[in-house]
């Protein structure tokens, strides 16, 4: 009877959260005052890396001043493409070192990488629609684009991320407290074919796993399958910053030594945890995924923000 009650409460809560997402626009998620860092496409890639790290951001919209248009987003995938291109063409150091942001498309083509589907949306559209677009485009962020009403030129108003949307829900929807069913019952954990590696795996192989799997992190386990750490796509920025991409034979454990001390650590949970506590943690801390482990700390699977958002939008 209690289980039945939990099911009904969870279902009603999800429906209510959907209504909330449909009643709000992406514009509503924006703070009253915020800054948006934009990079001119004629900037060099290594300079843009300094800008991202200096401002503690991992992505930025690109502005092509030749066409006076928005030219997509710079993300960690671009830096991974550069590393892979360099790994396949070690003689092209000069080209890589002088590469401009406008040249990233050529690098993408040269290694045959799938271009990131850059969906965008108008800030006045319902938030529910922005979430669906993000899920369909497999991108974890979506630029909000409007037009200058006098010159009709594009304005990049902001870039919404899954994290920002889930935090907005956690902050504004009391119904998240009623999401009390164990996540192990919600079909929300990716358990099959989770790509993993060992601490001794060469970092270049781990980077290949990131791109092959289209994922943004690779769990690192020991010989018993116990989770020890993870390698994230954004760790590549530190690799390039240190110029270590010359030495890609490094093990992933050694490459992780680059991580800055303000890294908050890897969040783990078990199948018995509930979305109510998960959302409460998202409200309080900047979390991008949860690794699900068993009682011995062995890796069971991963639950990403995409999985949580997809469940809220389409689950039940």
């Amino acid at each position: 009877e209690n289980r039945e009650k939990l099911h009904v409460e969870q279902k009603l809560a999800i429906e209510s959260i959907r209504k909330f997402l449909d009643s709000k626009t992406s514009y509503d998620v924006l703070p009253v005052s915020y800054r948006l860092i934009v990079l001119d496409t004629s900037l060099m890639v290594k300079k843009s890396l300094n800008v991202l790290l200096q401002n503690n951001i991992v992505s930025a919209p690109l502005w092509d001043s030749k066409t006076s248009k928005f030219a997509g987003l710079l993300t960690s995938s671009d830096f991974i493409n550069v590393i892979q291109y360099y790994f396949s063409n070690p003689d092209k150091f000069e080209l890589v070192d002088k590469l401009q942001l406008s040249g990233l498309k050529d690098i993408e083509k040269a290694i045959g990488a799938e271009p990131l589907d850059m969906a965008s949306i108008h800030p006045s559209k319902p938030l529910f629609e922005a979430c669906l677009k993000m899920l369909n485009s497999k991108s974890r962020r979506i630029p909000l684009i409007d037009k200058d009403e006098e010159t009709h030129r594009e304005i990049v108003v902001s870039v919404l991320t899954q994290y920002r949307i889930l935090k907005f829900v956690a902050l504004n929807c009391r119904e998240t407290h009623f999401l009390k069913r164990p996540i192990g019952e919600l079909n929300i954990i990716s358990e099959q074919n989770v790509k993993k590696c060992r601490m001794t795996t060469p970092v270049i192989d781990v980077i290949q796993l990131l791109t092959q799997g289209g994922v943004s992190s690779i769990p690192i386990v020991d010989e018993e399958g116990v989770l020890i750490n993870i390698y994230e796509a954004i760790d590549v920025l530190g690799l390039i910053k240190g110029g270590i991409y010359n030495d890609l034979s490094l093990s992933v454990g050694e490459a992780l030594m680059r991580r800055s001390d303000d890294f908050e650590g890897v969040y783990t949970c078990t199948r018995n945890d509930k979305l109510s506590t998960i959302m409460d943690n998202i409200r309080k801390s900047r979390i991008h995924r949860f690794f699900v482990v068993d009682e011995n700390g062995r890796l069971v699977g991963v639950m990403t923000l995409s999985d949580i958002l997809k469940y809220i939008l389409l689950g039940e």
Binding site: V38, D40, L53, Q54, N55, N56, W63, S65, K66, T67, S68, K69, D146, K147, D148, E149, E150, T151, H152, R153, E154, I155, M199, L227, I228, N229, I230, G238, K241, G242, I244, D247, L250, S251, G253, E254, A255, L256, M257, R258, R259, S260, D261, D262, F263, E264, G265, V266, Y267, T268, C269, T270, N272, D273, K274, T277, I278, N281, F290, F291
Partner: protein, 171 residues
């Protein structure tokens, strides 16, 4: 709740474990120092040069960049009213947006020299609306500042960046 943070993933513990296990490169690799050097912002650009020299440099830079300016009035030598063609390769007929409306392409800007204190000057740049290249004022004239709610700052930021670069390179 069994939510927790994996202790072995904390950087300090990870580094200790790596060194203990004797990974060769471990001792050579230092953590990224994410110096969040707070960007120090200034209004406009500062100058300690002689005021007339500053004005001269600005006129030369504007000329090099193909901008136009109104003849300064005798009583106000320290303000330059600029008009600048923002010619982008936006589309073949550069003056029509997708919805067929004329896109004004002449940006107006006011550049003004202020004295902060003795021998310390500030060059301020202000956006001053658009003009279409066929002379008539765009509809902005009947949109008050308050109603104007979607304004793209990029063309202004782009042209002022070009002017500042020209001044930096020339000086």
């Amino acid at each position: 709740s069994t939510l927790s943070i994996l202790p072995t993933s904390l950087p300090q513990i990870h580094r200790a474990n790596m060194l203990a296990q004797g990974f060769p490169a471990a001792s050579k690799i230092s953590p990224l120092v994410n110096k969040k050097s707070k960007t120090r912002w200034h209004f406009g650009i500062r100058s300690h040069s002689y005021p007339l020299d500053v004005m001269g440099e600005i006129y030369i830079a504007l000329k090099n960049l193909g901008a136009e300016w109104a003849k300064p009035s005798e009583e106000d030598l320290w303000t330059i009213r600029v008009r600048w063609r923002y010619d982008v390769l936006e589309n073949s007929n550069a003056f029509n947006s997708e919805d067929g409306k004329k896109i004004p392409d002449l940006m107006k800007m006011v550049i003004q020299l202020f004295q902060i204190e003795t021998n310390n000057y500030l060059v301020d740049f202000k956006f001053d609306g658009w003009e279409s290249n066929y002379g008539d004022m765009t509809k902005r004239s009947n949109i008050s500042e308050d109603e104007m709610s979607t304004f793209s700052a990029y063309p202004f930021l782009h042209l002022t960046a070009k002017l500042i670069m020209e001044l930096a390179v020339n000086s």
